[in-house]
Amino acid sequence: MARALKTAPAGNGAPAGAAAALVRPVLVRAGGAVAVLWGAATATFVLLRIMPGSTADVLLARSTVSPEIRARLIADYRLDDGLGAQYAAYLSRLVRGDFGESHVLRRPVTEVLAVQVPHTLALLGTTTAVTVGASLVLAVISARAGRLVRGAFAAVEALLVAVPPFWLGLILLSAFSFTLPLFPAVGSSSPSGLVLPTIALAAGPVALITGVLRESMLRALDEPFVLTARTRGISETAVQVRHVLRHAVLPAAGLLGWVGGTLLGGAVIIEIVFSRQGVGRLVLSAVQNKDLPVVVAVVLLSAVVFVLFTMLVDVLTWLADPRTRTEAL
């Protein structure tokens, strides 16, 4: 662990120096991210090639199109050329943000996605806000509570982590849309339509993060710096929030990558439970129709989002805790 404890030359409290020291590790990370995304793009290229039938048929999802459209597709993807030319054409299209055309929906994939992405982002946004807010509040409350209450929190957390989000969604729908008509059962236009899906999606991550935060807060409470803070005479809440919580956030930040992936996947199912518009319903119908340009685009875009998100978490961790500042990050 000696290596991990080595601090960056800039040290703490020198913003300009810290920014300069940040350049190298961020570049290293960015290189890794590009490699991963290139790998994902290559994997989907190989996948499209090894599918039974000609690649043109695969991309057309076996829908009947006019010979002109077929010819244009073959020219766009350079399907009559060698494998290397096809691969180069595929990559250059992806880099330009061109994911081809959905021949099932008869529209460019980017256009189809542009309509659906905002709906999914709204759900992911509220869920992230609720997850962060609720976990922080619940962790502080439960860390201050007695043994018995803490045990109850831990039991409920274990239960909520095990509950499949789509089932929780069904139960919430049954209770708060059908039995008590408080929230709309379908649709996504109004803000009140976001309440139940957000709860269903956030419950698991909130339970998990609250547990981890509380454990590390309880550990941090034994640290000497807490005693120091208390002897300065500041209030217990200030100790909890300013010192203990700051110290405890880091182990929880390590979970954020996992949570991000879970939320992206979970949102797809939650959209289906609540019959919401969004990428989830789009990609599900694409899978059912073998509309591969759409499926591939959603997979690659979510990989981009996930990779950027993990990088962001790494950089934030690096900024928050000088101890994690190694050369390699």
């Binding site: 991963v36 499949p164 089932w167 069904l170 599900l284 899978v287 499926v295 591939v296």
Partner: protein
Amino acid sequence: MRKLKPGLWLAVAGLVILAGMAAVPGLFTTADPDAADLSATFTPPGPGHWLGTDENGRDLWARIVYGARPSLLIGAGSVALALLAGTVIGVASAQLGRVTDQVLGRSLEVLLSVPWLLLVFLVVAVLGPGAFPAMVGLSLVGLPGFARVVRAEVLRLRAAPFVEAAHGFGWTRARVVLRHVVPNALGPVLALATVSLGAMIVAGSSLGFVGLGPRPPTAEWGAMLATSRRTLSVAWWPAAFPGLALTLAVLAITTLGQDLQRRIAGRSR
């Protein structure tokens, strides 16, 4: 030997019941899970049908009991495939040198960069819906975890004194691996397999729920929940009980798996 906690006993009991349901469903119910009774649709829970009936008048308890098998099989099948492929990749990473290790490590990162459901969707889009494509897709989700644990275990054990000693006896490499490395690496791998089983059962039923797993007449928990979604305004019980069964099954399995992981972590320290 540490005393078992009551929660753990409950988990073991739950798992035994679950395995019993999957193996011999006839022991738990005399009703036919597929027998429709259109004069008794949506009977609320009560005597005769303790958990009520669904939109075709089929007994929900019977369907939940018979649904244990497909739900468990998809989970277990995915874990088995992931474990197998993960072991091969993990051993290759540890043994075949730095370049192989780097390439395989990066490839696993590619798998990890795609949210699990979309990864499965991609596989199902290519192979078509059904139980087998679902298992292949889910095994890709679990694979990186197994590969990493196996790789770490092989690296740890290769440097362990008792393995060096075995080499010193002049044993063949294969004998050392079979007699010392495999048995010692088994613990962490099996603990991960147990925890993954819980996650895979939920994931498998999620696929059933969106209509990409076993199709509706099959009594599979996810497919049952999908049907219940459409009749939620009429009856809550077809949505409540299969999901409860799923939650309890997963809770039991993960409780057990996490306890195994803690024990192993405690032992190796």
